[in-house]
Symmetry: C3
């Protein structure tokens, strides 16, 4: 059963396929709303989320589908039901399942026990493939290319599942990747090694954000739980914070992305900068997820 | 971007426009349901509410729209996201936003940062314009006129945002307005003064409800938080409570309204009286809100 | 106003009517989705539930309807509103109401004060008629008959409302009924007496599950609240638990049902048995509830 669990096996053409379809969806959010009328998309979110859950619901509804929102809090899991049983039951009511879960590998497990397509909306610190496709779509739309980008990834690279899903496609398209993060939030070495050996990825660390060479600065949020004290949090956040001054030497076309929600890592004063594209990026969530839903339902 | 934040700038013709459109919607709740297919209405309620949130969702769905319900409790605001960011994100997924917030002026703020229409579903003690339009629609429908009414407003006039939105239109249509409320829940004097000087409004206080002259008795709920003690609450609530006896001298056509939910201010025994129109009023919420949504989406 | 509160007055032909209509819905879940476009089904669940609430929402959406989900937690009942008022208001926004409530008789009460159809989705330990129709539909579909079945009902027969709704139809179709339950969870004697005297029902108790003669083994969950201690729970649950070994002497066609969620009464290893039909049963919830909704809305 076709779904979307990981980008690990994606080739350039697979990404290209999704980006073209997303573009088509973006052109007319309403034109295809009849196609999937009467079908049902169910969101099962075992972690809090606004944007991912709502944007999947928005995408499904724009395709004419109904939506069921499984709320962890008021569910049969209170009655002691296993996750496997819950998944089988909800799959019985639905045409496609979108799942977020704190434990790595849950989406894959779900896809093995459900006989309908399953979309991974984030499994622990592992992957968040639909966000990565949104990021790639936004880059392509804004810069009109994906090949050979200079991209700087900033913040929580260790737990940031978006980063984990995004790195491989970036390497596929021969990006020059610079990483900026506090020591305790660095990418695992084996992930970097594997990208270098498999794809010849160009990845290096820098001590601070240097906007002058970047085509893309990709910011992420660092949760307070990652730090041992308030002081440490403050010190290390300063390292991974963007300032208006940093943008003075930026290339004219450089774009700033962020999967959102943000804390202080992008000050609100930057929102009005022509470089700021993170709200555009959020908006692109709808057509890209329309494309993913449509593709999973028709393959 | 056209929305509905306040009735403060409304002229008679603006009200007339909404009431005609509501009447059309009321005639056939299903006839127009295709018009807005594939579009999405998002409700953002930062205060508990049953009827307003559900009746907006009902109105949107009867127009063929999808709905997203932003639940404050399970949202990214837990992750420290600002209200402004949340609004921008949800606006990116939606075609129209309906917002309720405990702080005055939030709806206006939202309409300034979102590039889609925003409807004020209550901002603190300030305004609740869609409820006021429902009230006016119900009066027009039941009494077949809006001009020169004798109306008695009872209860919490200080914090009652419905009252604040309703007073100006009533004055516009030259109503004779009698107010009944405990001393600490009276309207702010400057609001009365401004209505008198701007529109020549006829507003006066009375010590108790006198049903004999009224065309409309408009009841409101007094929350226990407004009183310093249980005893005070009991004493002052008695003043603002309707009884079957009071209705004996009422005009045959007199109608009783209430924005609901009610506590004891209208005893259940009055529900079967021909004067009781508060459930009709609640029902009118759907066509009036269909009219408002349709109008905001097509202007 | 036609609704579905109880199966108590149902004759064989009424059940046959629902099963035929369910079969038609099951053949093509999407074909009829336009029929009820623009109409609204509201679910009012005053007890936690996943499957019943979601499967009603799925059924309504597959018929093209919109859905409103009244969440007890964030509602006006917090403001002190009576259940009666809440029901009247929600009915004003809706075309049909589906209610679950911990108190017996609530669905009937609701049907008396609402002027739209009301469906009972469980009222205390009383009835759960739509689940019973799903059970009957599943039996008919799997065994191709309803008449003269040998059926064994296991577990919490005292509080199990599904059992209470299912017994009478089983007796109508001349089932031979065996009951297995801990002493404190037995059916009330007067219920058995009434089925015997009214319908000549064949009902008897057994000490343990004997799969060798059964056409249907119907398992139910026993909640820990029903037992005085952990030890008691363990001992009595063993009595009402299915094992793979028990199935060795079973008839080839025998089916195992369970309204779900389950705890340990059916071990996961049985899921792959050809006898296991409880997930099929859950899946049948959608077409059967589509049939019920359609029927209530068109009668």
């Amino acid at each position: 059963m076709h779904g979307l669990i990981s980008l690990n096996t994606f080739e350039k053409k697979d990404i290209g396929h999704y980006l073209s379809l997303s573009q088509e969806m973006g052109k007319n959010l309403f034109s295809k709303f009849n196609t999937h009328g009467g079908k049902i998309a169910s969101t099962l979110f075992f972690e809090p989320s606004t944007r991912t859950n709502l944007s999947f619901q928005a995408a499904a509804q724009r395709l004419g589908m109904g939506t069921l929102d499984y709320s962890h809090a008021t569910s049969s899991s209170k009655k002691g039901e296993s996750l496997q049983d819950t998944l089988k039951i909800v799959a019985n009511y639905s045409d496609i399942i979108i799942i977020r879960h704190p434990k790595e590998g849950t989406a894959k497990m779900a896809s093995q026990i459900c006989d309908i397509p399953v979309i991974n909306a984030g499994d622990g610190a592992n992957e968040h493939p639909t966000q990565a496709l949104i990021d790639l779509y936004t880059i392509k739309k804004e810069l009109n290319k994906l090949e050979g980008l200079n991209i700087c990834l900033v913040g929580d690279l260790k737990y940031g599942r978006t980063i984990h899903s995004l790195l491989r496609p970036l390497a596929l398209f021969n990006a020059e990747i610079t990483l900026v993060s506090p020591p305790q939030l660095r990418l695992e070495a084996k992930m970097i090694d594997s990208l270098k050996s498999e794809l010849g990825a160009q990845i290096s660390y820098a001590d601070s954000i240097d906007a002058s060479h970047a085509d893309v600065i990709y910011m992420t949020r660092m949760q307070k739980e990652r730090f041992s004290s308030q002081q440490e949090a403050q010190a290390l956040r300063a390292l991974c914070q963007l300032t208006a001054q940093m943008l003075e030497n930026a290339k004219k076309e450089m774009i700033i992305l962020h999967p959102l929600p943000r804390l202080g890592e992008i000050p609100a004063e930057i929102d009005s900068s022509p470089h700021a594209k993170y709200f555009e990026q959020a908006k692109n969530g709808v057509p890209v997820r329309m494309a993913i839903l449509h593709d999973c339902l028709t393959k």
